[in-house]
């Protein structure tokens, strides 16, 4: 790059978003919608909201993220509702907390639709350019510079560079220095970030091959259909509008022969040959990883999913790989139905630079650089949904920063998004982070069905949710409360009519008087069934009935979690003063002191989640902070 800046363009805007993937889109839309003049930069306008890996949105716990994002006023849920081609609620046989929506997307339609939304958003400009440098003065971000030398002065920057920083793709011995799908990598920004003191590391992920539909024999596979009644992702989408014809996916399996080929060629895998240095995710292992690590498994599932309605490309889920092309073809062709397959795009692994996210606050702003935010895969996460959720929060908080308002920080008891971000910024993650339901300790409260009840108010408060939408939520809340109250206070006597009703539904007869709520707790009786003995009740919307049933049926468990949340919140509210010097707290164990210095938690609660900090350390910290505040004349809480 030349140092001569004469005759170069200079632009003045409010907020710059670097990258237009799932994080970048949400961030840019949020900023623009909140009234800020926003520019979003992408290396290729054609790759806005690209889905370079799996062709679906949602899935266990990821579906929760999308619902939450939607409740807060994000775009992903609305966009997938417009462009899905199959939809399924997962885990319906399990508890309501783990029901999770997943939709197959028409990839190009998804991209096109999001691009359309972006292009038509007021206050938002899309700019195709690579960003090479950030301008930071006195720890405050002032702007950035494109590869062609234009300077954009702004008040906040959101980095959403995904997997593009110094990306290289590996397919056996063949290595190309590109981003996903052959798009050009961003090669200068890494160094520029290091220069301003940002610590980066290297992660790895991978994707399986895409095949020509015509070369696949689906008769040898098990068809996988979508749900009969489709539930939309967005709380604003009319459920009737999404009932449509769906495509079919297919299931097949690897076998011993597949595994033999893989084992025989492991030396040609860049991971096992030691060429890949990045840390790969354990939850989405390449097929060679699966074969090595789960050697006793005779077969692995392979899901064949369409990439869209107007393409013959099929995604081969479960068989990502970085083996060389010839081995890939041999290995895929051992799978029933793929004997004559033709590969359109090879599977590959991708390595990229990303952030050590303990440099971030929970608002996703950098601790050391004011006005600089980051989101998405750059923060060390994985997945479209994780990226989008962070993008939305970073966008909102960049806006709050400009408005001089408090950032929106959701805690672990409020949202999966809170869990995601808290885990990212307080835990020492050694691999790309994927959302999982087991990571949420209060998951009975964080259901996908109540995301609106949990989060609409925050979305409304920041200004992304309209009064109309918010009022709908309030109305729903009121209807739920009223109906729960009514059922609890409606007595049911042991009348002849009741006993007969119970007998009919194979439910034990009443010995003493009961209530409608108590009857609803019986697994064999549904809300619908109860209409027989509750004939003059009002007809309520389905989503209200759902909430009523969950509230009554799981009351005991929900109460237990609520009391845990109370204790949790107490520790979250114990704030640690910014200027604390852990070296002064001599009673802390050395390991705890080091970890606390490294992570700089904002609250005692956050400190307690850092690995290496014991309950005794937490007690010591409480005492120290108390003494500190008292000596400074501050009153705690």
């Amino acid at each position: 790059m030349s140092d001569i800046t004469l005759n170069k363009l200079e632009e003045y805007v409010d907020i710059c978003v670097v990258g237009a993937g799932h994080a970048g889109c949400e961030a840019a839309l949020a900023c623009a919608r909140l009234g800020f003049n926003t520019v979003v930069f992408t290396v290729s306008v054609d790759s806005i909201a690209l889905m370079p890996c799996n062709p679906n949105i949602g899935g266990s716990s990821k579906g929760h993220l999308v619902r939450e994002l939607d409740a807060l006023g994000g775009e992903m849920g609305k966009n997938i509702d417009k462009t899905f081609i199959q939809s399924k609620m997962l885990n319906v046989s399990k508890g309501p907390a783990v029901h999770s929506l997943r939709a197959q997307a028409d990839k190009s339609d998804y991209t096109r639709s999001m691009r359309y939304t972006m292009e038509n958003q007021d206050n938002l400009t899309i700019k195709q350019a690579e960003i090479c440098k950030l301008i930071v003065e006195d720890n405050v971000v002032k702007g950035l510079m494109t590869g062609t030398g234009t300077t954009y002065y702004c008040k906040a920057v959101v980095l959403c560079t995904g997997t593009y920083l110094k990306a290289r793709c590996l397919c056996g011995e063949s290595i190309t220095h590109t981003g996903p799908g052959g798009l050009s990598a961003a090669n200068s920004l890494s160094e520029a970030l290091r220069e301003i003191g940002i610590k980066l590391r290297r992660f790895k992920t991978g994707t399986p091959a895409r095949m020509d539909k015509r070369s696949i024999d689906f008769s040898k596979m098990e068809p996988q259909y979508g749900d009969e009644r489709i539930v939309p992702f967005s709380f604003s989408t009319d459920p009737d509008s999404v009932q449509k014809e769906q495509v079919c996916c297919y299931l097949t399996y690897t076998n011993e022969k597949t595994h033999e080929i893989i084992r025989g060629n492991l030396d040609r895998s860049p991971i096992y040959a030691g060429i890949i240095e990045g840390t790969g995710p354990r939850y989405c292992p390449s097929i060679e990883d699966k074969v090595v690590r789960f050697a006793d498994k005779e077969r692995h599932q392979v899901f064949i999913e369409p990439e869209g309605l107007y393409t013959n490309e099929m995604y081969i889920g479960g068989m990502s790989s970085s083996l060389p092309e010839d081995v890939q073809l041999k290995m895929y062709r051992t799978v029933p139905g793929l004997e004559n397959c033709k590969i359109v795009r090879n599977a590959y692994a991708i390595e990229y630079d990303c952030l050590e996210p303990n440099q971030l606050k929970a608002s996703l702003e950098f601790k050391e650089i004011n006005g600089l935010f980051s989101a998405g895969q750059f923060n060390g996460s994985s997945g479209y949904e994780e990226a989008a959720a962070q993008g939305l929060i970073a966008g909102i908080n960049a806006s709050m920063y400009l408005k001089g308002k408090e950032p929106l920080v959701l805690d672990r008891s409020e949202a999966y998004i809170g869990v995601l971000i808290d885990d990212l910024v307080t835990k020492d993650n050694r691999e790309p982070y994927r959302m999982m339901t087991s990571r949420a300790e209060y998951r009975l409260l964080l259901r996908q069905d109540n995301a609106d009840l949990r989060l609409r108010k925050f979305g409304h408060e920041v200004g992304l949710v309209s009064d109309d939408d918010y009022n709908k939520t309030l109305l729903k809340e009121e209807m739920i409360a009223k109906e729960v109250e009514r059922l609890k206070s409606s007595p049911v006597g042991a009348s002849k009519e009741t006993q007969e009703f119970l007998r009919k539904h194979e439910s034990s007869e009443l010995r003493t008087a009961s209530t409608l709520a108590e009857l609803l707790c019986r697994p064999e009786l549904s809300y619908d069934d109860l209409k027989e003995i509750d004939s003059d009740r009002e007809t309520l919307p389905n989503d209200v009935i759902e909430q009523v049933c969950i509230t009554i049926r799981y009351e005991g468990y929900i109460e237990r979690q609520l009391s845990q949340v109370k204790a949790f919140k107490k520790m979250e509210k114990r704030l640690i003063p910014d200027e604390i010097d852990y070296d002064q707290v001599s009673s802390l164990r050395l390991e705890a002191r080091q970890k606390l210095k490294q992570f700089k938690p904002v609250s005692v609660g956050q400190a307690s989640r850092i690995s290496g900090v014991t309950p005794a350390d937490v007690s010591v910290l409480l005492v120290y902070i108390d003494a500190y505040n008292k000596s400074k004349g501050k009153i705690d809480e």
């Binding site: 799996n54 266990s60 716990s61 997962l90 885990n91 046989s93 399990k94 508890g95 907390a97 783990v98 299931l251 354990r282 939850y283 989405c284 292992p285 699966k290 690590r293 789960f294 498994k297 692995h300 599932q301 899901f303 889920g317 479960g318 990502s320 835990k427 999982m436 339901t437 087991s438 990571r439 998951r443 009975l444 697994p523 468990y557 204790a567 107490k570 520790m571 707290v585 001599s586 009673s587 802390l588 164990r589 690995s611 014991t614 309950p615 005794a616 350390d617 007690s619 010591v620 409480l622 005492v623 120290y624 108390d626 003494a627 008292k630 000596s631």
Partner: protein, 460 residues
């Protein structure tokens, strides 16, 4: 959390006979009221004024446990600035412990190391200048608590808890894998399967809890079996033990004719010597029945005294006995040590996986008898019934966690029986897992996620 109610034994536990249980927190008076009655058997504590002391009884479901003096200090005029109740027990160490148990059962929580002082500080009772000392106290107390915890756990116990944790973790991870990746893992019929496993674990926990309840050993005695080949000196040992006796309590005819139980007090410890008649017989009648005796009683005994003739090499019979008593609490007595020995601690150790107490002994001269007394004391009363109160409290804490784990697992069984969906199982499984982790001083962190990835092949 601050404001919940905590309790602990506040005095050193020793033979003085008086011990103080201190309770602090919002509910301390309410809790004490549930378990305290006056002479007229009335619950009257709530009506008492602050800073008064009263005579009465601690009861556990109507059963009188101890005669006590109880004092009440209402917030904020107490050490912690919270409601504080102190119970002065008179019945000695075990009663003191029992009272604490009852307090905990009625809603208090066992205090963390240094927690009373911490509260006193946080509530402004202790001067700022003492903050440093408070922090040091907390960290040193928790350090010693953890050390004690590990000290108390024998290798076997530690490994047992570890292995229970491992199996719980596996089940949690399996459920979670199936929730995260329903298309790869099915939970069909899993509930019944899990119920079986939990029942197995619960009975293991039961026996662990039992091993923690030393009260039983003091009150009811330690059932002890002497095993060994004929002529190694079992009857001499028996004579030694009974000569030592302060009182022979009873001679009970057991369920079978030849089981005779003799209770002796040996070094202040009540030993129930099982099959003493048998021992007398076999030493007279030279007959190779040592093995069958061991087999029969080793199963039920709390303690096995295994006698070996140290002047002779281990015989096949000895080795067979060893194999039978592997999992029991065993003390090996190398008898006839005055005759010059071929056997030594080093030769015995490998047969017991290097974890066994071996002492040189002479049943005739009584050499080693002192050591034996101390050893039994160590094994069953973690050192000394009366001396080390910190150890005692630690052990109490461990027993508490074990019961908590067991209760959590019972809740899982309830959930299974009530046909609740599988994701409800893992909530209580995790609680049990965490409780057991606290016993062996292990943090949870990302265990579940790590286990999911290492044991189950997740898709995509």
């Amino acid at each position: 959390m601050i404001n919940d109610t905590i309790a602990a034994i506040a005095t050193a536990l020793n033979d003085s006979g008086i011990g103080i249980i201190r309770i602090s927190g919002d509910d301390s008076i309410k809790i004490a009221d549930k378990i305290f009655v006056n002479k007229e058997k009335e619950h009257v504590l709530l009506s008492f004024l602050s800073h008064t002391i009263h005579y009465g009884f601690i009861v556990d479901n109507d059963e009188i446990i101890d005669e006590v003096m109880i004092s009440i200090m209402k917030a904020p005029n107490s050490f912690t600035k919270e409601n504080v109740v102190e119970i002065n027990c008179h019945g000695g160490v075990l009663i003191c412990k029992k009272v604490l148990e009852i307090v905990l059962k009625n809603g208090a929580r066992l205090s963390e190391p240094g927690e009373f002082t911490k509260r006193a500080f946080l509530n402004g009772r202790i001067d700022l200048s003492e903050a440093e000392a408070v922090m040091d106290l907390i960290s040193s107390k928790s350090n010693s608590s953890l050390k004690n915890s590990l000290k108390i756990l024998s290798g076997k116990l530690y490994n047992k808890i570890k292995s229970i944790r491992e199996s719980l973790l596996y089940e949690i991870a399996f459920i979670e894998s199936a929730l995260d990746d329903p298309e790869h893992f099915s939970l069909e019929g899993y509930g019944d399967n899990l119920a079986d496993k939990i029942n197995g674990i619960n009975s293991q926990l039961d026996s662990l809890i039992e091993s923690f309840s030393r009260g039983k050993f003091v009150k009811e005695g330690i059932s002890t079996v002497i095993v060994g080949k004929p002529n190694v000196g079992k009857s001499s040992l028996l004579n030694l033990l009974t000569r030592q006796e302060k009182a022979i309590v009873t001679d009970i005819a057991g369920t079978t004719r030849d089981v005779i139980e003799t209770s002796v007090v040996f070094h202040d410890i009540l030993l129930n010597l099982v099959d003493t008649a048998g021992i007398r017989e076999t030493d007279d009648v030279v007959e190779n029945i040592g093995v069958s005796r061991a087999k029969k009683f080793a199963m039920d005994a709390d303690l096995i005294l295994f006698m070996l003739d140290s002047s002779k090499e281990l015989s096949d019979d000895d080795k067979e006995i060893i194999s039978l008593i592997q999992d029991k609490q065993v003390i090996v007595l190398l008898n006839k040590s005055d005759l010059g020995s071929v056997l030594s601690k080093e030769t015995i150790l490998p047969y017991f996986g290097n974890q066994i107490e071996v002492i040189p002994f002479s049943a005739l001269s009584g050499d080693g008898e002192e050591i034996l007394g101390n050893l039994i004391n160590n094994m069953f009363f973690s050192g000394n019934i009366s001396a080390d109160d910190e150890l005692m409290i630690t052990k109490e804490r461990q027993a508490n966690e074990l019961s908590f784990a067991k209760n959590s697992l019972s809740l899982v069984i309830d959930s299974i029986n009530n046909c609740l969906p599988e994701d409800f199982f893992s909530i209580d499984l995790l609680n049990a897992y965490q409780a057991l982790g606290r016993i062996i001083g292990e943090e949870v962190d990302d265990d579940v996620v790590d286990e999911i990835f290492s044991k189950f092949c997740m898709g995509k």
